[in-house]
Symmetry: none
Subunit: 419 residues, 2 copies
């Protein structure tokens, strides 16, 4: 396989789960963007035999290996001697590098600890990549079998090394590499993965050489189209656009956004373009919708306020929900949702409103209204939609799904009322 | 090595970095807690040959393999047939399982799509673990070489399966496993990692054989003590307790919780024990505090309501902040924070209140009030504390730090007024 690398990540803390290996995902994206594919990853502990075996296997299999971690000055940092031995190279002191390491300490007004001297030792014949963020340099070793690049484990140092020098070095090793991996995404909500797959089955079978991945989340299923860089970039882009349009056309009712846009971006774009202001009344989502909207800079362009009316008395006092409504229909009902959204629009003067009331669990369900029962009301000018959902999952998933369903209902009103 | 497993994670999206493999870290921690060590991980794409090779190698090397991912109903889900073939087993339809899968759809009022039928196919002789959260069951295959357990890739389903049945099944396979890895945690906020490290330097040097890790987050620094299962469990527990007490005693001013308790748990415990009710007024945190509180079941025991007063007009209309205060001091000021917390307590009758107003960025800063300027007011009965913070980080970190600082200020009032 061309332009393929394997990653070997080294560190007990990764295996024990005390650190999440965010380097792996970052490297995967960065390399794919340069037309280089990560075809396999391994994670091993700080054990010489395990490091040796994992790097050797990857080198034999793919001939191109990136290691992260195990380049520090302490005794459990074994990557450098193990990989040097794998290439039959001695470690030799690099005086210029020693000077650089020492200088980093001097700048902080500290004398270099003796243990850091080992960080200036380099396998004979290795390429050295200066690390602008730390004392562990990047290193590369090559022979007839291929190459191994050593990077430290600290994410900011990995980023600085790759973008500073290592990516350029890698790219030169793959003169025949394909064009960059290109993506398009069609984001859906409110439809199960398998039903969605059935509806687009005919489109799916005629996509090649593009591929399609189904990425399910609590808040919906993303369809991700990929062009693998094996055709001219212009052709890839036009094929991707056509395929995304075909999918979005077929699934129009459930599509809320394209590519990296999310639900809040889609709703925000409609509201700001039309100068509409939004108010929220949240019960079971408890501020999650407000939080999602204000995660995004620019929320102040359209969001007036949100009211988290968690207790029934707050529904009455802050939103004007009538006690008779609560008594007759309960807090989790279409009638209450309707009065909540009317109340928050009245209190704020906003043209657009969303209200959510439901049972997120784990307790509070009944036969008639089991956990996952959620009522949403969305209002826009004179129009109002009220809908009941039966959502699956744990408390956090039900809340996420409820927030997504509420925003989706408002988005539908916004689209249908498009001038 | 005894009591060791390897993990093989399957999915192109992991290699491409579109999904971070959070399952791996979670499984590492959960298994370590049961005395089972993850000794290696591999990540491969949805390619039959790669899955086959990775699982076979792991099975030969360690004899105990957990796979995650690739159990869905679509055509790129290959884990089950590949692993069945590795054990020379046919896939057979499990009628009881089919009924369960069908029922999940029926409960949502949907007919089961034909493709989901494949999820009820099981390798002959496999152990089936019911999945309470989805349609992909967990599976285990065993022969003379060892065992392979198959889990889906969706984190909530992995958690439900492992804790529901798989962990118990695994533990029975390792009768000679070591003592569990034990942890204690002391959680701090409002103090920098390096200053904290200096203050406990003498305690740190006398901890062995326990180890201490500093885990910094946007919302504070956690101190994690670990006993590695190399002494009797009772001794480990008493050493850990003594060490945690020593750290917490030294750092009392900054410690908000122990072990898995978080800030909301700590605040909630005080409020519910004393029958106090809480109301929130959030500006720059935009619902984040309400969301964090309602993430937790039982929030209705103490939370009355939250008001996200994002626009200035909402601060006036919903919270009664005086226009003169806004004009004289600005929305981001101690005076506004004070009037916000008074307003939300007045509107809800709550005894406890928090208000936050600040500049989360990236825009909106000035020389006098740069991005990261946050004012918090916390009130409890007759007492009120108002504090200014200058927080670092991007928009999301500033919001998280502001939420944490606000809850910490209320926690201090609650502790100081303890009857």
């Amino acid at each position: 396989m061309k332009s393929a690398v394997e990653i070997v990540a080294i560190g007990h803390e990764l295996l024990l789960g005390e650190t999440v290996n965010t380097n792996a995902a970052w490297l995967g994206r960065r390399l794919a963007g340069a037309g280089i594919r990560v075809v396999r990853r391994a994670v091993v502990g700080d054990v010489a035999g395990d490091i040796h075996e994992a790097v050797r296997d990857a080198l034999e299999r793919t001939g191109a290996v990136l290691c992260t971690g195990g380049l520090g000055p302490t005794r459990d940092d074994l990557t450098k001697p193990v990989v040097a031995a794998l290439f039959g190279r001695e470690l030799v002191l690099d005086e210029a590098l020693l000077e650089r390491v020492r200088e980093r300490f001097t700048r902080r007004g500290i004398e270099m600890p003796a243990s850091n001297r080992s960080q200036a030792e380099v396998p004979a014949g290795a390429t050295v990549f200066p690390n602008p963020r730390g004392t562990a340099s990047g290193l590369a070793l090559e022979d007839g079998r291929g190459f191994v690049v050593l990077l430290p484990g600290v994410p900011s140092e990995v980023h600085a090394l790759l973008d500073g020098s290592v990516l350029e070095w890698l790219v030169r090793r793959f003169p025949d590499r394909a064009g960059p991996l290109l993506h398009r995404q069609v984001r859906t909500t409110g439809i199960a993965e398998s039903i969605l797959a059935e509806r687009i089955d005919d489109i799916t079978t005629s996509l090649a050489p593009l591929t399609l991945a189904f990425l399910p989340h609590a808040s919906g299923v993303d369809l991700r189209l990929t062009a693998w860089g094996d055709m001219p970039e212009a052709e890839a882009r036009s094929r991707l656009d056509a395929a995304a349009d075909a999918l979005a056309g077929r699934l129009a009712r459930w599509v809320y956004a394209r590519d990296d846009q999310d639900m809040v971006d889609a709703v925000a774009a409609h509201l700001t373009a039309r100068g509409l202001r939004l108010a929220l009344a949240e019960s079971c989502t408890g501020g999650l919708i407000a939080k999602r909207i204000t995660d995004r800079p620019g929320a102040s362009d359209f969001l007036v306020a949100g009211i988290v009316s968690y207790a029934n008395e707050a529904k009455t006092a802050l939103l004007g929900v009538r006690p008779e409504t609560l008594a007759a229909h309960g807090a989790v009902s279409g009638e209450t949702a309707r009065e909540m959204v009317e109340g928050v629009r009245r209190a704020t003067g906003a043209a657009a409103g969303i209200a959510v009331t439901g049972i997120a669990g784990p307790d509070g369900g009944s036969e008639e209204k089991p956990v996952g029962t959620v009522w949403v009301a969305a209002a826009l000018g004179e129009r109002m939609e009220v809908a009941r959902y039966q959502l699956l999952g744990d408390r956090s998933e039900i809340r996420e799904r409820a927030a997504q369903a509420a925003l989706a209902l408002l988005l539908r009103l916004l689209r249908e009322s498009e001038p």
